[in-house]
Amino acid sequence: MSVIFVLIGFSSFVAIMFLAAYIWAVKTGQYDDNYTPSIRILFDSEVKKESSKSNS
């Protein structure tokens, strides 16, 4: 049964990682704008017309 403490440890650790990531996400403004990101991904960044082999 002692493994439950290891698991709680690991699990809390993962949870704390996610909490830290959450704080980081909020602080760096990942969630400042809750609308445009969902629109932005709809636009392609690929170059449309030119045949692109010369670009790199």
């Binding site: 698991l7 650790f13 990682m17 403004g29 709809l42």
Partner: protein, 708 residues
Amino acid sequence: MNVEKFNYDNQIVKLFLIATVVWGIVGLLVGVLIATQLYIPELNFGLSFTTFGRLRPLHTNAAIFAFVGNAIYTGVYYSLQRIAKARMFSDVLSKINFWGWQLIIVLAAVTLLGGFSTGKEYAELEWPIDILIAVVWVVFGINMIGTLIKRREKHIYVAAWFYISTFVTVAVLHIGNSIEIPVSFLKSYPVYAGIQDALVQWWYGHNAVAFFLTTPFLGLMYYFLPKAANRPIFSYKLSILHFWTLIFIYIWAGPHHLLYSAVPNWAQSLGTVFSIMLWMPSWGGMLNGLLTLRGAWDRVRDNPVLKFFVIGVTAYGMSTFEGPMLSLKSVNALAHFTDWIPAHVHVGTLGWNGFMTFGMLYWLVPKMWKTELYSKKLANVHFWIGTLGIVVWVIPMWWAGITQALMWKEFTPLGLLKYSNFLETVLQIVPMYIIRSLGGLLYLTGLLIAAYNIFKTMAQGSFEANEAAEAAPRGSITEKLKYGMIHRYLESKTLLFTALAFLAILLGGLVEIIPTYLVKSNVPTIASVRPYTPLELEGRDLYIKEACNSCHSQLVRPFRSEVERYGEYSKAGEFVYDHPFLWGSKRTGPDLHRIGGKYSNMWHYLHMENPRSMSPGSLMPPYPWLIENQLDLSSLKSKISAMRTIGVPYEEGYEEIAEAELNEQAQKIAADLLDSGILIDSDKEIIALIAYLQRLGTDIKIDVAENK
């Protein structure tokens, strides 16, 4: 405005995409074969390699890690570059990721067919492959996080959050569950034993579902569903909320796989409570997906991609409702060990993972090959045949599960089991097995149609390995990597920094925890429970090799119906020397925990040779090679000393006399068989397996006898 020109790596996406289709066909083909073996045992072909026990882990591993795994990589490698507006961090790492993963799959197939297995569900692969998986997975993680670090878009779109959580958590789970002590090149024992191993295994197993089959696919949903519908996700806020709640809660729900087991009640309750809480974030994801199509359902009518997505997301919603429901103890008492569980799993895999993958493929291939889909009609045929396949797979298994569970639990008015012969309850559901395999066949047919359609689309289009793109550079952050400035650089790269810190803490934690763990174990011990004899230990390894635990549980739950049928319910202290635990998760055959002493050695011999000779109509495959093969004792010594290292109290120097003791016990069994008229050498594998089976669950019988 300053615009940077760069290329997206489409070549790597193409490779993963083709691998997805190929391994999908392989995985489903094996699935259909094993489904058919359940009612035509002759299809085991009397060969060890093609017997159900060997093929079943091959099917699950191929479906999860080969088919779904490659689908994840396909989607991530395509979408991550677009989300980040940057090429993958390193082409070399991308290639290592691809070829490394395919190598793992091939090694997995070969070793699983050869019977090299740890005996832990969805983690059957042996230690050298485990290490390879860890390395390739970390390569994937570095490549992903590296790409995010050099991204041009300041904002990390929600899909990538799901990808990151996938990487982090799967790494922790895989390493945590795979801590094992090697005894030879392809054999190891987990350091955990009994209920501890059970807790770790289902902490892993449950979260493999969560972070391999769920979070990456939610990420894919958040990218490909809006792209295919050309509409933004219903609510970006909801996506944030459900992401954080989902990943936090999922981790804790593992013990719901162990309800009514020998695991302490409070751990079981913990699992149940978190499982019920999981319902809400799961449905947050489902609703966000479905509501994205609000006002655009006319597009669903015309667009096969969206059709697949709609069924996929709906299946996700159904199985994430079913999961919490099955975690209720009263429901679990009925459903556990029955075919209801595979039904639940297949709603998720066939519906959610399969259909999301198909939708993604049908969208990606025309896009990357710059053409139209070869045949929309064939895609629609695939959609209907696949949907029908799921229905025909799942409904009979729900039916079979409930039917059989009710039969297991039914008593006559006199208080006797109504169906005391287990086989009777199996034969009752054979028609369901037949229908189920047809469902699988339909689903496989759909995939074959898809493969043809995809191939034709590729052939008519033109593929560009490096697709030109342009985007504005990301603002402000311009710290360059220079000698002497590495930490300064790291400080500006938060994600990389986090990842490194995470690795550091993880290593420290492992080093601190594991030794204390190895030294002392506080599992409640029962005085009469002794370690396995060398012969029983070898027999147990054969039990693992043939994956008997695929179909037989070793856990009598504390219900009247089970105690009546099998004997005294299982206690935690009985499993302290079980590395690994072998409780199983499905009773295709009866429980074996109290099998010891129930039948004669002769019965077991004849039964393994041909199960139908002892149980007419049995679905169990014959194991004739156990009678022919000589027991391999080459690693007996290292097995004993490895077991001692992980806490089994074999005396110092016991390995020196182990072989002599083994031979002595084997000769007794051979002599007993000879008395029954069976002439067999004592050095055959069957002798060891009989020794193990006769030992099972008997320690506690001695206890009862002595106390009386």
